[in-house]
């Protein structure tokens, strides 16, 4: 009996100790626990053998190596086990939403029926432009609604009433949020407008302190910034109320009826490598060969470009000066070509073969249509995506514009020309004197002029071409500065709100686009505003904290819920703030200058296709954010001091401003994170795909494989380990393109267990045209690109921004001068220790009886 007992104990000891070395305190603890459990405890407790209790319920604590904080961990875990953990259950059916969905089901069909109505069809608004609009069909209803709206917006309420009002409407908002379709979405917009207008009214009418000159001055600045944000919100709702989602329109069966198209590929200083793929892809476009002329417009006067154009058989146009940069380049080529349509591709935008067939259809149906624009799609990560490592996971900066805003503009016949991936009818373009040269954003200005002459525009959302994104943060910011300056110039030189020819709706679309680029100063104001109270101790919003809370919070909450609903697939919540914050400092000055002196400033070319050899922190670019971070951090400390030493009637105001500062620090952290440039070593960008190919071996055997990525110089294939073993030095890769098969000789560069890297041998033009056709220019390449993107969930998105923000501060400390990296190590250790206190999830296995 005694031997039995000791052998059981020994077995249990071995079970816990395993092969690891047991420390002396560990031995004491383990032996005493085993003795205690064997002598005093029941055999089984809570479904598991009692001697294994620590292992099951305290998985993060090691009995054989006890640590100093273990008692605390045990207390936390016990508390969590008893009070917090909910036993796992089968998924409960949620009654209300399900019932709601059932009720709504019927209405949904009717709503979708409405979507077939004529006025929601493309071109309706365009034909309507020709007729005199019949408006205010029901003036009485509209007047009544207006009176109600004015009442809702202007009536002052006491805190409790305001609370009830905002909460009740919020409940309705959440109900609408669950309903599918566009009409509930419109109702949500109405609710958000109501609350936001109410907020702005309250801000204008009762929050300025006229007795304190400093507070009044700063208060007015903040109010102006808020008015700007409110106006952008309003116009944004208008712009995106009903994205058109225009489908492609088919062409006549007989190709003799298809018009002739000139393709312009302007280039200034880009590498020939970048341009080659684009030219090859243009040569493979599905269009009658006698109706397609390709022009390489070289503003760099480079011999290798001229030779390349001659070798592959495309036209080459150059000129003696570089007047008006890209716009001048295109205008020069316009004079030397004569196709009925002009398709423009930046030299790094590779069109898919179906580009013309899918986008030309609308021209043939509408003689007034002058512009068809398609999205700019990028197959390499932009600096945001690369430095935050969220490429193809979170919608990027351009996602909102090309996914939603252009689509919304299209309803209002206000699609902008974006400089590339677009087709313009030659007649109208020559009528306005070619591409506009007065501003640095020649593209938007050109479409503005076309619209002024009464021409129509169209937007097709399918990504039909793809290109390289800008490489470095500084280049990216440089490009945005150019856009911002150009838009501000247009606002001054050719203001869309005035001048002839435009419909009100088009004026608003253009105005909002320009307004968007003026966001620099308001954003800086928001980032500095809480400091007015914390540092200068002046009330810039002269109202009790509770009232500010009750007005601001609904305003922000409503607009973020509605925007998450409208923009969810194209821009995740809070990311827009990060993008905007990064740009704010840099666009603030150029836009202001351009507003006052529109003729200043030059065209700077966006550099693409470069390399970043070493990971580094861009101290120059991030300088303004670091300053803002320091100011906000200082404000935070002062706020804490005020909380401690200040008068008690100020505590709520201090808390409010502290909250604001923390939010600012969060967004600024994201901006700082972007400034830490990650490595970019490959000159050729690899495009991740997945389609089947065959590998032909010299022996005459064919292997089945999946192509997993490709670049202009080679590809990578995945195949079974057995098959991978058979691949030798030389293979032919057989790819399929719309039923045609092409074979490309390649050499093996590396071989893994299931992966083989291949390099293209034959780089002759005829082979490259086919290769680009089978890879970059595949018609369906970019369509499925967005499938991996997650849907926007505001809280998840908040967590993501928070995590990149922390990441940003870490990178900042690590790259900083002497004591900072050490500080980071200490903080990391402390955080790690705090994390280890966290209760751990447990897993009770059903033991055999």
């Amino acid at each position: 009996m005694k031997e039995d007992f000791s052998s059981i104990l020994r077995a249990r000891y071995r079970y816990y100790a395993g092969v690891k070395v047991v420390s002396l305190p560990g031995k004491c603890v383990l032996v005493s626990w085993l003795l205690f459990s064997a002598l005093f405890l029941r055999n089984r407790i809570a479904g598991c053998e009692s001697w294994r209790l620590p292992e099951v319920f305290f998985p993060h604590i090691s009995l054989i190596r006890p640590q100093l904080l273990d008692p605390l961990r045990i207390v936390v875990q016990i508390f969590w086990l008893f009070f917090m953990r909910t036993p796992p259950q089968k998924s409960r059916t949620r009654g209300f939403p399900r019932r709601l969905r059932y009720v709504v089901g019927g209405a949904k069909g009717r709503l979708q029926g409405l979507a077939n109505k004529a006025w929601l069809q493309p071109s309706f608004w365009q034909t309507r432009d020709a007729n005199v609009a019949r408006r205010h069909r029901q003036p009485l209803t509209i007047a009544l609604a207006a009176v109600l709206a004015v009442l809702c917006i202007t009536v002052p309420l006491d805190p409790l009433a305001q609370f009830v009002f905002a909460t009740a409407l919020f409940g309705i908002l959440l109900v609408f949020n669950r309903l599918p379709g566009r009409f509930p979405q419109m109702l949500m917009i109405v609710l958000s407008l109501l609350i936001s207008c109410r907020y702005i009214w309250w801000r204008c009418s009762s929050t300025l302190n006229f007795d304190d000159p400093l507070g009044l001055a700063l208060g007015i600045v903040l109010l102006l910034a808020e008015l700007y944000a409110w106006l952008v919100l309003l116009l944004g709702y208008f712009q995106n109320i009903w994205p058109l989602n225009r489908p492609a329109k088919s062409l006549p069966k007989d190709t003799a009826d298809w018009p002739s198209v000139d393709i312009f590929v302007p280039s200034y200083n880009e590498d020939l490598e970048v341009v080659r793929a684009t030219i090859y892809a243009c040569q493979g476009l599905d269009w009658p060969k006698d109706k397609l002329e390709i022009y390489l417009l070289d503003d760099g006067r480079r011999d290798d470009f001229r030779d390349f154009a001659r070798d592959v058989g495309v036209h080459y146009i150059t000129r003696d000066d570089n007047r008006h940069a890209k716009a001048g380049n295109i205008n020069n080529a316009l004079k030397q070509s004569r196709g009925e349509y002009v398709a423009i591709f930046d030299c790094d935008h590779i069109p898919t073969r179906a580009f013309l067939q899918l986008s030309m259809g609308w021209f043939l149906g509408d003689p007034k249509l002058a512009l068809v624009q398609t999205p700019h799609h990028f197959f390499s990560p932009d600096p945001f995506e690369r430095n935050l490592s969220n490429f193809r996971k979170v919608p990027n900066e351009g996602g909102l514009f090309y996914g939603l805003i252009q689509n919304g503009n299209d309803l209002w016949n206000g699609t902008f020309f974006c400089g590339s991936c677009a087709i313009i009818r030659r007649g109208p373009l020559e009528e306005i004197g070619g591409v506009a040269v007065e501003t640095v954003t020649e593209d938007a200005h050109t479409s503005l002029r076309l619209h002024r002459l009464g021409y129509n525009s169209a937007y097709i959302r399918a990504p039909l071409a793809a290109g390289l994104a800008t490489e470095t943060l500084s280049a990216h910011i440089g490009q945005r500065i150019r856009w911002a300056r150009g838009m501000a110039q247009i606002l001054r030189l050719d203001n869309p709100l005035r001048g002839p020819g435009l419909k009100l709706r088009q004026r608003l679309c253009y105005f909002n686009a320009m307004l968007h680029f003026l966001s620099g100063i308001p954003r800086l104001v928001f980032l500095l505003a809480p400091l007015a109270f914390l540092l200068l101790h002046t009330y810039i919003i002269y109202a009790p904290a509770i009232m500010i809370f009750l007005y601001v919070l609904p305003h922000m909450l409503y607009s973020s819920v509605v925007n998450a609903k409208i923009q969810g697939r194209y821009r995740h919540s809070f990311w827009g703030e990060v993008y905007e914050t990064v740009l704010s400092w840099y666009i603030a000055r150029p836009t202001t200058v351009a507003l006052f002196a529109p003729h200043k400033g030059t065209f700077n070319v966006t550099a693409k296709g470069g390399l970043i050899h070493e990971k580094y922190f861009d101290w120059v670019m991030s300088r303004p954010y670091i300053l803002l971070v320091l100011l906000n951090a200082f404000g935070f400390l002062v706020g804490l001091w005020r909380l401690y030493a200040g008068p008690s009637n100020e505590i709520s105001a201090v808390l409010l401003n502290l909250f604001w500062v923390v939010y600012n620090l969060l967004i600024l952290g994201g901006a700082v994170a972007v400034a830490a440039e990650a490595k970019q070593l490959r000159s050729d960008h690899r495009v991740q795909v997945r389609f089947p190919v065959a590998l032909e071996l010299p022996s005459g055997h064919l292997l089945h494989a999946q192509l997993v990525d490709f670049s202009l110089s080679g590809a990578r294939v995945e195949l079974s380990p057995d098959a991978a073993e058979q691949v030798g030095q030389q293979v032919n890769v057989i790819m399929d393109r719309a039923g045609r098969e092409y074979s490309f000789a390649m050499t093996t560069v590396f071989k893994g267990r299931e992966v083989v890297g291949l390099r293209l041998c034959d780089q002759s033009p005829s082979s490259m045209v086919n290769y680009v056709q089978c890879t970059f220019a595949r018609a369906d390449n970019w369509v499925s690109w967005k499938q991996n993107m997650s849907v926007d969930k505001p809280l998840t998105s908040m967590a993501a921004v928070m995590s990149i923000s922390i990441q940003g501060y870490r990178r900042l400390l690590r790259a900083g001068p002497r004591p900072l990296p050490q500080l980071l190590t200490t903080i990391n250790a402390l955080v790690g220790m705090a994390k280890s206190l966290r209760p751990q999830p447990i897993l009770i296995r059903v033991e055999e009886a």
Binding site: A694, G700, H701, L702, H704, Y742
Partner: protein, 247 residues
């Protein structure tokens, strides 16, 4: 039940290999298959691993007055095969008149099949020009196998106009995309007979000949090969084609 006749545009395009490997793919996808050899050569049995000494077959059975069911053999993977039968010169001269006069015993065989637990019957038929002159039972689909060569293209241009359009499809076998001539002819055929093409081709792959020599199907012999992939896609297409015909 899906009945397909496979016929080569001319000799040597790989008809028997298509029947053997397509049936293996269909069987693997869960369809119970029977392959019938309608060729005097009696070569299909080798592709289905029947003992070369075995002389049985439906033609022989009919001459001897025996039941064709006794001549039906089963492959290890579950496929059934009904060989033509090894006929000597005398037997052949007795057999041919029945074939041409429209009284082929194969009609009786196919009539009996309906009651058997089968999903798919593949007939390894004679070449395209002879096909109308053999009295073969009616089928759901005739699959003409063309090689990407001049002869196949010429015969297609000459004859395809006379075939009932709803009932046939053209399959390109033994395609070598690296060869300019082969891919040019394949493209010509695909352009001229756009509506009638089987989507996808079967590539020239040495493994097909090797598998044939080893009395195995490429599916079993080399599942990683492109040939196995080609036949699997072809089998899937046959199934979907059959589904759409049923509906």
């Amino acid at each position: 039940m899906l009945t397909i006749t496979v016929s080569g545009m001319h000799g040597g395009v790989g008809t028997t290999a298509v029947v053997a490997n397509l049936s293996a793919a269909l069987q693997q996808q869960g369809l119970r298959c029977l392959c019938i050899d309608a060729n005097v050569d009696n070569m299909l049995r080798l592709a289905l691993a029947v003992n070369p000494e075995e002389k049985v077959g439906w033609a022989k059975a009919s001459l001897e007055g025996a039941s064709w069911k006794d001549a039906t053999l089963q492959h290890d993977d579950g496929r059934w095969v009904l060989p033509f039968g090894e006929l000597d010169a005398d037997e052949l001269s007795r057999f041919f008149p029945t074939l041409v006069a429209g009284q082929s015993p194969l009609h009786a065989v196919v009539a009996d099949l309906a009651s058997l637990p089968l999903d798919c019957v593949l007939i390894d038929g004679p070449t395209s020009r002879s096909l109308p002159h053999y009295s073969l039972p009616g089928v759901d689909l005739t699959l003409y196998v063309a090689a990407p060569d001049a002869a196949s293209y010429a015969l297609l241009k000459q004859d395809a106009g006379h075939w009932p359009a709803s009932n046939y499809r053209i399959l390109i076998n033994r395609l070598q995309p690296a060869q300019a001539l082969a891919s040019a002819i394949a493209n010509l055929i695909a352009d001229d007979f756009e509506e009638q093409m089987v989507p996808g081709v079967v590539h020239e792959d040495l493994i097909i000949a090797e598998a044939q020599a080893e009395l195995a199907s490429v599916i079993a012999r080399a599942p990683d090969s492109q040939a196995a992939q080609d036949f699997q896609s072809l089998a899937l297409w046959c199934q979907s084609e059959f589904q759409s015909r049923v509906e």
